[in-house]
């Protein structure tokens, strides 16, 4: 019933010329997404974790358990000084992320170009 979460990893470069790793999610993000969200992040080589962009542009449904996975990723990243930013959230989920307070710990951008330019 729940749409499986798929995650792919792309490598790009920010405006500063530094490498940026993009985690692209497809499907729902919920309690069943632990492997796709945290597993994909944890499998990244250390060198690819310094600057990460989360792409939500193909995600239609995020529930509180899914948000908790994102918080867990941000927590892990903050311990190592990694920077995680996001783009592609619908206006509704931008509002939800702001309500929850996630936006105090990450920046959310409207699109990929703007997000990449922030690095």
């Amino acid at each position: 019933m729940q749409t499986e979460t798929k995650a792919t990893v792309d490598k790009s470069v920010g405006a500063s010329g530094q490498p940026v790793t993009i985690l692209r999610f497809i499907g729902d993000i919920s309690s069943t997404s632990r492997e796709a969200v945290l597993g994909t992040y944890e499998r990244l080589p250390e060198v690819d974790r310094a600057r990460i962009l989360l792409d939500f542009s193909k995600v239609e449904y995020i529930n509180s358990s899914g948000i908790a996975l994102i918080i867990q990723m941000l927590l892990e990243a903050s311990k190592s000084g990694q920077i995680i930013r996001a783009f592609g959230l619908t206006p509704h989920f931008q509002k939800v992320f702001t309500m929850v307070g996630i936006t105090r710990y990450t920046s959310i951008f409207a699109d990929e170009a703007t997000a990449k330019a922030s690095f």
């Binding site: 309690s31 529930n63 509180s64 358990s65 509704h92 309500m99 929850v100």
Partner: protein, 160 residues
């Protein structure tokens, strides 16, 4: 379509994660028929999803033989939603999540659902001791939110 005053739509879901999306779709259809704006429909969908997940997990303990009932009642000014499960309901107020504590690992990352519900709809009430022996969460979302203000504080109440 002309809506009958106080028309009611009911959905019964198995206590299995994912089926909350059936309630979301039904509620969204009803809300659009009533004339809710798309941003309020999105608020309603998230609130109902969280209420259903809560009922499946905490009320029915994911026992798929126990249904979660979703009752949508339309009026001229608002949509009332009751999400019914077989559990007793909470016997104490649900603490508000603290993102700073979560981000420092002092509080589990989960525990956001009730906060989202309270933030996204206009009224939330937990009714314990419902007629079926369970309990239900009652949500109200108003057509003209600007005239009615933001979410009211959740309150516990004894039902009939």
């Amino acid at each position: 379509m002309v809506l009958a005053k106080n028309a009611t739509v009911e959905v019964r879901l198995p206590s299995r994660l994912g089926f909350e999306k059936v309630a979301m779709g039904t509620a969204a259809s009803v809300a659009r028929l009533m004339g809710f704006s798309e941003d309020r429909v999105e608020d309603l969908k998230t609130a109902i999803a969280e209420a259903c997940i809560n009922a499946m997990e905490h009320g029915n303990k994911f026992d798929e033989s126990l249904p979660v009932g979703v009752v949508l009642t339309m009026s001229d000014t608002s949509l009332e939603v009751k999400v019914v499960d077989k559990g007793p309901g909470p016997d104490h107020p649900i603490p508000l999540p603290d993102i700073d504590r979560k981000m420092h690992g002092d509080e589990p990352p989960r525990g956001l659902g009730m906060f989202l519900i309270q933030s996204l709809v206009d009224e939330v009430e937990w009714v314990r001791g419902a007629a079926n022996g369970g309990s239900y969460m009652r949500l109200v979302i108003r057509l003209d939110k600007a005239a009615t203000g933001q979410s009211e504080q959740i309150r516990n109440a004894d039902g009939n």
